[in-house]
């Protein structure tokens, strides 16, 4: 099992494409697959541009990362790599100018909403079809937020085939076709047994299952999600105290969740952002509930454990909410506590900070990571800054 380590290393120059990819995944085999089938085991709304620009789960992230491309890419170590742009220059007066590849182009309106992603953007304008200029306020480093999915766009690779089975990417001549197969809520073992070549999973039981299957290679992906407990109200900190003991936090990672988990480790992107309001809302009528998204098993286990460790007589309940209800609960901020899985890395801290209630105190609980189960002979894959896999174009 290959473990990828990620230590962000900012760079301001393109990486030579010939260098070995430190984030690459290669499941070597003498024979290459004609079609590379990726099983997407979570619900995917592939027609939705909103989902494309802001994926809601690992499957959407994997699909849209391969359908959409950014001006630049960040690899698993935070290294800037060419994306739609293959060269870029910096002028202290004009800012960063990116020159796109020959077959790439941007619409004139691209970048108009960049300041929504990162507030330090001064301007992001399309100079012409193949040149983009980005100027930042008070910093000269390369604008890494350009790798955020919110600024991605489809390019070149037109999907063929469609619902209900999946989406097939038309490959360049001689390349392996990639087929994204929709199997929402399906059993990953069944998917692999039916011929899927790639499954991204956070289920240790699946990793156990394939450990004895020689045709698969298992890659451990970077820590990609940090679960936090977000407390609100006058009793803020009470649950954090119950969970803060080292043994308890260790137990959370080791026993409470059925996932590859560890005790959460800093740094946390929200520590540096000013987007999290520090003012406490008056929540005297807070509901005695610890809420979580009910499609998130890890969040549920953590919420249950929080309830189990809460002081006796507190009357706390763990309640799973669907996505819309949970978003409304976060906006309302009237629940006693929230268990939220935040991205481990963020290029848009202010946007991602909206995933927790304003003014809430965050207690990082555990980090989790996924595993990529790849059939040997698959085309080379690379791991992006946020742990998402990308099929390497040849």
């Amino acid at each position: 099992m290959l473990v990828l380590g990620c230590a962000p290393k900012p760079t301001q120059s393109p990486v030579a494409p010939q260098q070995p990819d430190p984030c690459g995944l290669v499941a070597a085999s003498p024979s290459q697959l004609d079609t590379f089938t990726v099983a997407l085991l979570e619900p995917v709304d592939w027609r939705s541009l909103d989902h494309a620009l802001s994926p809601t789960n690992d499957s959407e992230r994997l699909l849209f990362r391969n359908l959409f491309h950014n001006v630049i890419q960040l690899d698993c170590q935070g290294t800037v790599r060419p994306g739609l742009a293959d060269t870029w220059t910096f002028d202290p007066n004009a800012g960063w100018t990116f020159s796109l590849r020959e077959r790439a182009s941007l619409a004139p309106g691209w970048g108009a909403t960049a300041d929504i992603v990162v507030e330090s953007v001064d301007s992001a304008v399309v100079l012409d079809a193949r040149h983009v200029r980005v100027r930042m306020r008070g910093r000269d480093s390369i604008p890494r937020f350009l790798a955020d999915p919110a600024l991605a766009l489809a390019h070149g690779i037109a999907p063929s085939g469609g619902e209900p089975g999946g989406i097939e990417l038309s490959p360049p001549a001689g390349a392996t076709a990639v087929y994204f197969k929709f199997e929402p809520n399906g059993d990953a073992r069944d998917a692999l047994d039916r011929g899927a070549d790639l499954v991204v999973t956070r289920d240790p039981a699946l990793v156990d299952y394939v450990s004895n299957r020689a045709e698969f290679a298992t890659f451990t992906l970077p820590w990609s999600r940090t679960y936090v407990l977000s407390e609100t109200g006058d009793q803020q900190g009470e649950l954090a105290r119950a969970l803060n003991a080292a043994s308890v936090r260790s137990s959370l990672a080791k026993d409470a969740v059925r996932a590859d988990a560890r005790v959460a480790e800093p740094p946390y992107w929200w520590s540096d952002t000013t987007c999290l309001s520090t003012s406490t809302r008056p929540t005297q009528n807070a509901s005695p509930r610890v809420v979580y998204r009910k499609d998130d098993e890890v969040a549920r286990s953590l919420a249950e454990r929080t309830v189990a460790l809460a002081p006796a007589g507190s009357g706390l309940r763990a309640v799973g909410l669907d996505a819309a209800e949970f978003a409304a609960a976060v906006t309302g901020g009237l629940e006693r506590a929230y268990v939220v899985g935040l991205p481990r890395q963020s290029l848009a801290p202010c946007r991602d900070a909206s995933m927790v209630p304003a003014g809430a105190r965050l207690l990082p609980l555990i980090d989790t990571r996924a595993h990529a189960i790849v059939r040997k002979g698959a085309p080379p894959l690379t791991v992006d800054w946020d742990g998402t896999l990308r099929v390497v174009e040849r």
Binding site: A308, P311, A318, V319
Partner: protein, 564 residues
């Protein structure tokens, strides 16, 4: 209060009292019987509940024994529990959840000898909590089964729980298992009106006003959620009876009672109406007929075919009316005779009044013929008008009597001229007859003949009242009356300085046939009063014995006529 109302109220009371007693009796008997029936059913239900609880306890016990049998053979459990082998840790945590589902339990907990939860089925993440009280107290509970209030992550859970224990590798473990209590209690109730609920410290059954507790079955109770330490307490299985059915029956009886009352009221109204039509209407008819009887209308018929009291009363009234008819006939005959007499006397009186001027003229002629016959033609010419006037008066009188009922021919009358003519014809015999006639006097609206009769009677009476006195004065005054908004009229005052009248004389002065004069007919003032009333006038008398009398006559004036 009318007869019909009395009848209605009487019928109402007579019917409603027994009806109310019947409704009360039905309600009371119904409640007594239903309560007795519920008591009997609850008695059997309590037995069923106790049996069911015991059976549930036995079932939980047998399931726990089966689990223990499996656990003691399970090597992975042994490794995780005894050696804390990391690879088996997750198996241990998940064990209770899996086993609980397989064994049909709602609660399963495995604890070590220190009371630490190793695995919890209903709440996987409850591990490592220390709850030694639960198995200890359960073991001491009567029947080794208790109602345990614990929780799942989502909600509190009430379970009928038992405890068992086993040894693995020389260490003691306890297993607490249970089944959800409330669904089982719900299944016990097949009857709509009975409900079974759990009461325990901190929770009493929701008592509504429409339910009553019939039986309480005690049950050992442990509350793991109180936050104040766990102690063995007592819960109760409470069997309550919903009073809904009884109240519905009572409402139904009440409703029918109200319907009966309504029908009774309606029937009473109809009956009262019918009876009143049979009784009060004939009485009302009799009263109406009786009220219409007077001497002119004695033709009411009181014939009746009824043989009851009303028929008898009707016949009595008929007899009375018949007697009245006979009496009235006799009275009218007497009146007729009296009227003829009155008429004769009036004719006599009027003719005398008409003959008096003629006699005076004839006396004058005789006197002239004796004393100076040469003057007779001149005197004749002078008094001829008086003779013509008297003859005309008598002729008119005769015409009027011929008509039996003199009619009033209202016309403008010159009162001053009439006064002067009447005074000319009165034999004053040395008394002073003086006048004070208003030149602005309007014509009176009346009949000249009637007015003349009034004046002749009043002046004649005034002269007569002077009696034997040689001195005395009779004064006739005319003046306009009314004004100031009152209808205009003519006032004639005849005043004398005669003997006057006492109070008694005045009271009888206008009675027929009363006269204070030796040769009087007693009709003069009576006729005057009738004539004045016929002319729509008024008569007032002012008199004082020894001083004199004033007759004041007010007559309506002719509104269109000129003043004289």
């Amino acid at each position: 209060m009318t007869f019909r109302t009395r009848l209605f109220l009487g019928i109402l009371v007579a019917v409603l009292l027994p009806l109310g007693a019947l409704a009360y009796g039905v309600r009371r008997e119904m409640e007594r019987r239903l309560t007795a029936e519920y008591e009997q059913r609850v008695g059997s239900m309590a037995g069923v509940i106790e049996t069911d609880l015991a059976r549930e306890g036995a079932t939980v016990g047998s399931r726990l024994r089966a689990l223990i049998s499996d656990l003691t053979r399970d090597n992975r459990f042994r490794l995780a529990a005894l050696q804390a082998e990391p690879g088996s840790r997750r198996y241990l945590l998940d064990y209770a959840g899996t086993a609980m589902g397989l064994s049909g339990l709602s609660m399963l907990q495995i604890q070590d000898s220190a009371g630490r939860i190793l695995s919890s089925g209903h709440f996987r993440n409850e591990f490592d909590q220390v709850q030694p009280e639960l198995p200890t107290l359960l073991a001491t509970a009567p029947g080794t089964m208790a109602l345990v209030r614990t929780r799942t992550p989502e909600r509190p859970l009430l379970a009928l729980a038992r405890v068992d224990s086993f040894r693995v590798g020389g260490r003691r473990f306890s297993v607490v298992g249970g089944v959800a209590a409330e669904p089982r209690l719900d299944r016990l109730v097949r009857e709509r009106d009975l409900s079974v609920d759990l009461a325990y410290p901190g929770r009493e059954p929701v008592s509504s006003s429409g339910a009553r507790v019939l039986r309480e079955i005690p049950l050992p109770y442990l509350d793991l959620l109180s936050g104040t330490g766990v102690a063995l307490d007592t819960a109760r299985v409470v069997v309550t009876q919903s009073l809904g059915t009884l109240e519905a029956l009572q409402r139904s009886v009440d409703r029918w009672f109200l319907v009966a009352v309504g029908l009774t009221v309606a029937a009473a109204l109809v009956l009262a109406g019918w009876l009143s039509s049979r009784i009060s209407r004939p009485l009302r008819d009799l009263a109406r007929k009786t009220s219409e009887i007077d001497l002119d209308r004695l033709d009411q018929s009181f014939e009746s075919e009824r043989t009851d009291e009303i028929g008898a009363l009707s016949r009595l009234l008929g007899g009375m009316t018949e007697r009245l008819r006979n009496s009235t006939a006799r009275l009218r005959e007497a009146e007729r005779r009296a009227a003829v007499g009155d008429l004769a006397r009036q004719v006599n009186h009027d003719i005398k009044n008409g003959l008096a001027p003629i006699r005076n003229v004839l006396r004058h002629f005789s006197q002239v013929a004796r004393q100076d016959p040469a003057l007779l033609p001149a005197v004749f010419e002078e008094r001829k008008e008086t003779l013509d006037s008297s003859v005309e008066y008598l002729e008119t009188l005769a015409r009027n009597y011929a008509r039996l009922s003199p009619t009033i021919e209202r016309a403008p009358c010159d009162v001053n001229a009439l006064v002067e003519e009447v005074l000319r014809n009165i034999a004053a015999d040395g008394r002073v007859l003086q006048t004070s006639l208003s030149p602005r006097l309007p014509h009176a609206l009346g009949d000249t003949l009637m007015l003349r009769r009034i004046l002749e009677n009043l002046v004649g009476n005034a002269v007569d009242s002077l009696g034997g006195r040689s001195a005395g004065t009779v004064t006739v005054t005319t003046e306009p009356a009314g004004g100031d908004g009152a209808p205009a009229g003519v006032r004639i005052t005849v005043a004398d300085t005669g003997s006057g009248m006492t109070r008694e004389e005045l009271d009888q002065a206008f009675d027929d046939f009363y006269s204070s004069k030796p040769n009087g007919t007693g009709l003069g003032l009576s006729i005057v009063r009738r004539l004045i009333l016929d002319l729509n006038g008024t008569l007032r008398v002012e008199t004082e014995p020894g001083i004199g009398t004033r007759f004041v006559v007010d007559l309506p004036a002719d509104q269109g006529g000129p003043a004289s």
